[in-house]
Amino acid sequence: MPTNAGYYEAAYVAAAVILVGYALTLAVRMRALRVRLEAARDQQDGRE
Amino acid sequence: MPDITVALPAPLVPRPAPAATPPGTLRAAWLVARKDLAIEFRTRTAFFSAMVFALLGITIFYFAWDATAVAAIDLAPGVLWVIFTFSGLLGLQRSFGVEQADRAMDALLAAPVDREAIYLGKALANLLFVVGVQVIALPAVALFYNVPLGDVWLPLAGIALLAAFGIVVVGTLFSAMAVNTRLAELLLPMLSLPFFLPVVMSAAQTTARLLAGRPVAEAWPWLRILLAFDLVFIVACTLAFPYTVEE
């Protein structure tokens, strides 16, 4: 049996990094949008 | 001041013009195509650029590999189809670009013609453009790459026409969309090239077989894909076009 375990380990790590990384970008973008939402609401409240 | 009335002879009496009926779809398409070709013929810039690009590309490709290792005739189909594709894209860029000036597109849309006719007309003009480039490029490749066209030039011309059709049908639609975006010149190739794959692959594979002297029947699986692509996408793109020019 060939000893090529390194390949599948790398693949599993790569898949995890890509998917977790993507989820993290979603979280970061969500937070940035919430900041903008608060700012926009404050501006609107300030006008009223 | 005395009133002077003059009775005009009958032929000079102004009559109301007969009610003009809007042209049907095919006639309208032809009118749109004629308009585009007239514009192009007067300025000639796009066709000239595409032609020069094609000839330069064909020349540069020749020096891009070791002619002693690979026979020129083996690379000819690939070079031919890459050149057709990219010079076709040059022509497609200007297809809807000409309507940007003076908001000509609005006038075109206000005319009493089917939206589909506008699309078909533009596609026809683009087709003639691409075929024009092919008419120059094909003999150029035959000359520079020592390709004996001889008895296969007719089926080759047929494939060239079918493939040009496929490229133009999809490219015209994407040109209509891309022209309204920020990155028009970059977006058109990016969107179109994946769609060109079945066309270019089928055409190149068939060309290679024809040049190698194989019977046309051997290339039939590829030709089938090319024909199916043309049929499916002329219908799909004609139906999709009105959605790209809605107000």
């Binding site: 049996m1 060939p2 000893t3 090529n4 375990a5 390949y7 599948y8 790398a10 693949a11 599993y12 790569a14 898949a15 995890a16 890509i18 998917l19 977790v20 993507y22 989820a23 979603l26 973008r29 969500m30 949008l33 919430r34 903008r36 939402l37 926009a40 609401r41 501006q43 609107q44 006008r47 | 999809v170 639609l173 969309m177 309204n180 975006t181 920020r182 990155l183 977006l187 990016m190 969107l191 090239l193 994946p194 769609f195 794959l197 079945p198 692959m201 089928s202 699986p221 590829w222 894909i225 199916a228 692509f229 499916v232 996408f233 799909a236 793109c237 999709a240 959605y243 790209t244 809605e246």
Partner: protein
């Protein structure tokens, strides 16, 4: 009287908007399911005799490919068609989310593919039919996202994206046809023949568990991305009304 809406959700003209606060349980369970499959694949699934441990890449590679094409891209195509018919903004947001999440999964396929190809076939890339078709899928989704990025006005962007989504769906069968025809005429040098049709039950179980886990993760990521899109549209509307 307690608020009927789930915690952290406000209603907006675009539909419910998730304001954060709670933990996204769907997404979390998706990741946990995938982690469980990882453990099962690594520790509790037998190693294939001919290919060796590298064969285990398949549990991640094939499952991601399934999600990318049959879940993400199919959803993109369906929502594109439905949008042109119904003109509901929500459909456009689902399409946009399916595309982005689909791109992530397609990237996983394209990276795990060569990592499997190298030990099994000897080279990183061999223009294998499936991998080539996946590469074109990647380009199509990327083109879709770039088109969306290049159009500012929301209605036009939705319309254009829907047209591209539908045309891409029509194109995919042609890509498969062309690429498979190309392959049958240019067989690649295969050192070892990849996975045989009959697999021992433990491997099959890991496979199915993998499909379920990655599909669950897809659902979680899709919903999170959809909420992001809804919030973004809400913020833009609010900023524009000033």
């Amino acid at each position: 009287m307690t608020d009927a809406a789930p915690e952290g959700v406000r209603s907006t003209p675009h539909g419910p908007s998730y304001q954060g606060g709670g933990v996204d349980l769907l997404l979390l369970s998706g990741f946990l399911a995938v982690a469980a499959v990882y453990v099962r694949a690594i520790a509790f699934t037998p190693v294939e005799a001919v290919q060796g441990p590298a064969q285990k890449i398949l549990y991640v590679h094939a499952t991601s490919a399934f999600v990318a094409l049959y879940l993400a891209f199919a959803l993109l195509a369906v929502c594109s068609g439905l949008y042109l018919w119904l003109r509901d903004e929500k459909l456009d947001r689902v399409a946009e989310s399916a595309a982005e999440v689909g791109l992530a999964f397609t990237t996983v396929v394209l990276i795990t593919g060569p990592l499997w190809g190298k030990p099994i076939w000897g080279t990183w890339w061999t223009w294998d039919a499936r991998l080539t078709a996946t590469l074109f899928l990647w380009f199509l989704i990327l083109g879709y996202l770039l088109l969306r990025g290049a159009v500012e006005e929301r209605a036009m962007r939705a319309r254009y994206s829907a047209v591209l989504g539908l045309l891409a769906a029509i194109l995919v069968p042609f890509i498969h046809l062309s690429v498979y025809l190309f392959r049958t005429l240019h067989p690649m040098p295969i050192v070892l023949k990849p996975s045989a049709p009959s697999m021992p039950t433990e491997m099959q179980a890991t496979f199915f568990a993998g499909f379920f886990a990655f599909a669950l993760l897809f659902a979680g990521l899709l919903r999170a991305r959809y909420r992001l899109a809804t919030l973004r549209d809400q913020v833009l509307d609010l900023e524009e009304s000033h």
